[in-house]
Amino acid sequence: MNPEPFLQIDRVIHEKGRLAIMSMLAASAELSFTELRDTLGMTDGNVTTHIRTLQEAGYLSVTKSFQNNRPLTTCAMTPAGRKAFSHYINLLERIIQQNKPE
């Protein structure tokens, strides 16, 4: 078996919580912090940590604003994040393909 796809897997995205955040943002232009937290059933701290990691990797952009005098944090995937996510999916597909019985 070719181990190359395994070695190429992006560890930043591969973590379960971060993969969930990236998956959700891949389907929506932007999502609020609360939407991510409630849909994924994560704690505030967990979401914050994952978002920070993804932001530091350049995969997410975070916008802080106010709506009706209440703070609103929204996240969106950056072009680099979209590329990395697409690459990650391709690797998963390659792993499935190479393990398919002949």
Partner: protein, 213 residues
Amino acid sequence: MESNWAAEHLQVIRTLMERSALYRRALAPIMIFNGVVGLAAAGLGWALKVGSPHAFILFWGAVSVVALTGSFLLVRRQAIKESEPFWSPPTRRVSQAFLPPLAAGLMIGIVAWAKGGAAPGNLSDLSGVIWLPLLWVMLYGCAFHAAGFFMPRGMKIFGWVFVVGGCGLFAAGVPDWIRPLDCAHGIMGLFFGGLHFAYGVYLYFTERRRHEM
């Protein structure tokens, strides 16, 4: 083994992407509100004997404005409460799906209103435009079915109930013993009031259970 792991990951990604695109505001209050408005309007229309096509179309047009405004205010209140944007991508998608059939219903209503007033004979009383509420019901069902692709699964079934019910009544026709006034307001009350209210009550319990889980 590795293949299973990768396939499971892809399945998780797909599920989350689908869930992300879904409209997830609580629909029970919106349904119940629309149900109450529909039932009250049907009762009011019947009590006030809103019987000419002109008055009927204007009356139910005004009711739909009240229902739409109320629904948008309820959605906005939920969004503010949860510190989320009101005009979110799922809200946009659902609104866009609703729009064509609702616009068609509005246009048909306007044309019927314009022609009905001038036309002599059967268009000048409600028995001549009894098809109109049924057409509104069917178009509304189509709107719900289209929006159902971005909402929880039950919405498509709810849309089908309107379509099948509207078509069924259209095929069955109006029995002679029912006055057109009762029939027209009855159809509007039954579908736009009764069905919304019943589904709203059902959602009230199921959505609450989902949130408690």
